[in-house]
């Protein structure tokens, strides 16, 4: 695999050894976590495959080095524009947030970065803003579902009565 060999060459430090926060590149994962998708991480017993609802999750979110409480960058694995754009919109609707944006540093790496900065005096940390954004997004989805079902029922009712 291309990216793997490249990252090896650029890494003079032993994998796993401690790196000074500032020295670590923003978008580097430890070797062990590299290229690992959620689907292929463990070998579970096939017999209780079906019974097992939630599989052991890999940590897909991490705080990038160089973050302070009110200004942080997060790295999401296996996420893209779908969640990135929706999430940065909803976080931007939070009045305590000074800045929020997402980026996909490289199209062939399955990673999405989100930068959040909150106002120093607001008492909200970047992590709190992220959590609130995620909760707001879930609430939004509930409203959309309710309204959608409501509108569909109304439409089907009028359609049924007019066609008969």
């Amino acid at each position: 695999m291309g990216p793997k060999s490249k990252s090896k060459k650029e890494e003079p430090v032993e994998p796993g050894s401690d790196v000074v926060m500032e020295d670590e590149p923003t978008s580097a994962q430890p070797e062990s976590r590299d290229d690992m998708s959620v689907d292929q991480n463990e070998d579970e017993d096939i017999d209780d495959f079906e019974e097992e609802e939630e599989e052991e999750e890999v940590q897909r979110v991490r705080l990038l080095p160089g973050s302070t409480p009110t200004a942080a960058s997060f790295e999401f694995l296996n996420e893209g524009h779908t969640l990135g754009n929706a999430l940065s919109y909803i976080i931007n609707r939070n009045p305590d947030v000074e800045f929020c944006a997402y980026a996909i540093p490289h199209p062939s790496e399955n990673k999405m970065n989100v930068r959040i900065q909150t106002f120093e005096g607001s008492g909200t940390t970047a992590i709190q803003a992220l959590e609130k954004g995620l909760r707001d997004l879930q609430d939004l989805c509930d409203v959309v579902t309710d309204k959608f079902i409501e509108a569909r029922e109304k439409f089907m009712a009028t359609k049924g009565s007019s066609s008969s």
């Binding site: 292929q40 931007n92 959309v144 409501e150």
Partner: protein, 374 residues
């Protein structure tokens, strides 16, 4: 300067993307906190519940059209992207070719088979069937197929001469038996509990039985078995539950000054059918000072009937006689969705599934963030 709350007209104007002859204006939404001094715009679920609306235009199994009104493009786009790439469907993934003496090559045939959309019992498809995971150890692959993650199919066709064909017959379909191989020739082989979920009306079968897979001549034969698995559109387009899922913004046509008589007829022709209507100027309008209709009683005037049908071709902006009389735009928060299902899901169910999927994604990430903090 003291703060003055925005008027209704101002709020309305903020929602319109201006469309000019060569340019578009007012593209970005501005309803964020700190954008306007003295205005809040913070996320408020109750306000969203009040303002957000859904309107249905069409709801058929294979095609649904509806409007999401009052949401941001990032949300609408997330739903569209999820519908295309993240809703799982069942499709042929592996083809085991026993014999293929047709002119169509094995790999091309396998690709064609993969693209055929299938349908079956909804409960079985959406609840009973689970993901199939390729085992890390290749030698264990035969122990990874179960009734809940694999559906097997067979296709056995042999082309032969038709002894009953009329002499001088030139039509291959009459001259030979099985000259054409269709999707309906694919045979479903239920195993285990699949009988319970996929029998009779619920059997797994092609959505369109008339898809031509291959053409054969006497002596040629196709004999193969297939495995279907669940997959998502981001892996391969064959797994996408939609032929297309798209949205467009509601067009806005604003007639600022009256367009009358011959001009009105020409104006109507600048738009698709049904967008612009012609009405007679009433006596009341003609007598109103400053309306622009004075002395035009009984003449035809152009009125906007159904802007939704407009394609925003901007044709009306090319003609000097309409200069300054019409303003085109699009409503930034009105998304007209069109969802065309390939048949495995109902079109409206795909959208609901997409909303549920986004919610689940947010929930999973929320858990992950809490994990990270801990």
């Amino acid at each position: 300067m003291p703060h003055r709350p925005p008027t209704k007209e101002e709020l309305e104007a903020r929602k319109i993307v201006g469309i000019n002859e060569e340019t578009v204006t007012n593209v970005n939404s501005t309803d964020f906190p700190h954008h306007y001094a003295g205005e809040d715009h913070a996320w408020d679920l109750e306000a969203f519940r009040r303002e957000f609306r859904v309107e249905f235009h069409q709801n058929d199994p294979y095609e649904a059209s509806f409007s999401l009104i009052g949401c941001h493009a990032s949300i609408a786009n997330a739903f569209r992207r999820i519908m295309i790439a993240d809703i799982p469907t069942l499709a042929i993934e592996t083809v085991f070719i026993n014999n293929n003496t047709s002119v169509i090559q094995d790999e091309v045939l396998a690709h064609r088979l993969g693209l055929i959309p299938f349908k079956g019992g909804k409960e079985g498809l959406h609840k009973f069937l689970k993901w199939w995971k390729k085992p890390a150890d290749e030698s264990q692959i035969n122990n990874s197929y179960y009734d809940f993650n694999t559906v097997s199919l067979r296709l056995e066709v042999k082309c032969e001469e038709n002894p009953d064909a009329a002499p001088g017959e030139t039509d291959p379909t009459k001259l030979y038996k099985h000259a054409h191989v269709y999707a309906r020739d694919i045979e479903f082989c239920p195993v285990g509990r699949q009988h319970k979920y996929f029998s009779g009306e619920n059997a797994i079968r092609p959505v369109n039985p008339d898809i031509l897979i291959a053409k054969l001549r006497p002596g040629q034969e196709i004999s193969l078995s297939m495995h279907m698995h669940k997959g998502v559109g981001s892996d391969h387009a064959k797994f996408s539950p939609v032929a297309t899922a798209s949205y467009r913004l509601l067009p806005v046509i604003d007639i600022i000054e009256p367009i009358l008589g011959k001009d009105a007829e020409k104006f109507q022709k600048c738009f698709p059918k049904g967008v612009i209507g012609l009405e007679r100027v009433t006596k009341e309008e003609a007598s109103r000072k400053g309306s622009g209709y004075e002395g035009h009683e009984g003449e035809l005037k152009a009125v906007v009937v159904d802007p939704m049908r407009d394609t925003v071709s901007r044709e009306c902006l090319r003609h000097p006689e309409f200069k300054g009389k019409v303003k085109l735009g699009r409503r930034r928060d009105h998304f007209i969705f069109l969802v065309e299902s390939t048949g495995q899901w109902e079109s409206d169910a795909i959208f609901l599934e997409a909303v549920a999927h986004l919610k689940k994604r947010a929930k999973d990430i929320e858990k992950q963030v809490m994990n990270m903090v801990r």
